[in-house]
Symmetry: C2
Subunit: 253 residues, 2 copies
Amino acid sequence: MAKKNHTLNLDDLKVSCQNCSLADLCLPHGMAQEELEQLDDIVIRHRPMQPGQHLFRPGDRSYALYAVRAGSLKSYCITEDGEEQVLGFTLPGELAGMDGLGGDTYASASVVLETSSICELPFERLQSLCHVLPSLNRQMMKLVGREITSDQHMLMLLGKRSAEERLASFLLSLSTRYRSRGLSPTEFNLPMSRQDIGNYLGLAIETVSRLFAQFQERNILRVNRRQVGIVDLETLRQMVEPCVSNPSLSQQA
Amino acid sequence: MAKKNHTLNLDDLKVSCQNCSLADLCLPHGMAQEELEQLDDIVIRHRPMQPGQHLFRPGDRSYALYAVRAGSLKSYCITEDGEEQVLGFTLPGELAGMDGLGGDTYASASVVLETSSICELPFERLQSLCHVLPSLNRQMMKLVGREITSDQHMLMLLGKRSAEERLASFLLSLSTRYRSRGLSPTEFNLPMSRQDIGNYLGLAIETVSRLFAQFQERNILRVNRRQVGIVDLETLRQMVEPCVSNPSLSQQA
DNA sequence: CGGAAAGTTGACGCGGGTCAAGGAATGTGG
DNA sequence: CCACATTCCTTGACCCGCGTCAACTTTCCG
């Protein structure tokens, strides 16, 4: 009986790109059954990782892309004067490590924020497989292109926008990304600290805190530490309106 | 005689990736002779373009990457409230249009700043050729990865750095890029207006102007409108030092 | 020569950074 | 189970870097 249970579990628990609910956000998007199996062969799955563990650090030999199945990551780099600069957050279905494509080493670091399941996709194998599967290649280009677009969106935000607009934009980005993963777009837990948010948005941590308080005051949010409820999505949208470029309705990665 | 002249010119003027002096900065880097000929077949070369002409605008169907042979480009997008946000500048040997990889349309615009020679590389053909030439595919990934790294560098700059550090970083970036193209790293013409510089760096145009004056005062630069001479490269380097991340010596695109 | 665009310079004020103090949640050892 | 430390967050007071406004100069171009 024990044995039967065991084998059953093995089957049930087998994770693969084919039964991953995030497949249509991640690399497998648009791939055929047979192609998926080939992708499965090159994906390495680890046991869940704990907060504070690093996938890679700046200078590490660039080795793989990392797809988040569950949990979240923070990417950042360290400046000469020892300060951290947060570059972004990776949510389920998204990829980290793309900056490793540019050279032999990563330029940034990637650290786990909460207990997370991560898929590892070694560059070498990915390249070879791309060679055989044009659809995979196309999807990779697409994701890389989106990363660039999304970075450009941030450039816009940091270049011109007020503290209020930045935080509103950040919250909307999270909301959109959670919704596309089938999670609530209005009730979620922030996986990152105020420190990280401020750093990411180019604001002092005190400013972030004050804005959260103010948004709550104005009945736009309900905030309790990391638990956020968006009350008035519409007002948030109006705040960021001047930030959005015209034709393409902001498609943040 | 007229005929002889004619044929001679045709031979002399034939531009191709094989005899392009920028080949080792651009896509052909690391490709074999035979492979280069294949790349040549898919590259479209236009007659020189004039300032103000657009390669593409936001919402245009994304169709090609553009390589600059000579001259320079500005990429930017327009926000809902009609303001322009400059995203970057493309110098000889560099590529524009990568954000078109992310979707069916471009998210940004690309405009010619000075009379320029541009090579057009249609996505479709590029993809097909990548499928046949792994070295091309690898080089494309590399350039795309660098684009991401470079955007991240800008995020850093805009997020945390003072006006002085931003302008110093900008000047050093130009210097580095001109040097790698075999041009003088200390004497060059700015292809863009103060307006564009300020917009790009997230600064008011007046601030840029004042900083140029101040740098001149401190004997770091000689500036006359768009003509710039860097007098004290070392001081500039010290200014940006806190911006640079540790391990990889800043490799701006 | 005239009008527009680009760049410079000065005066002023505000958004948000900095500093400082305190509260709330979580961990730690006795 | 309770003192105590630590980390994370909040709130208030102050002030400075840089944006804004305005006036002027220089260059460009028809």
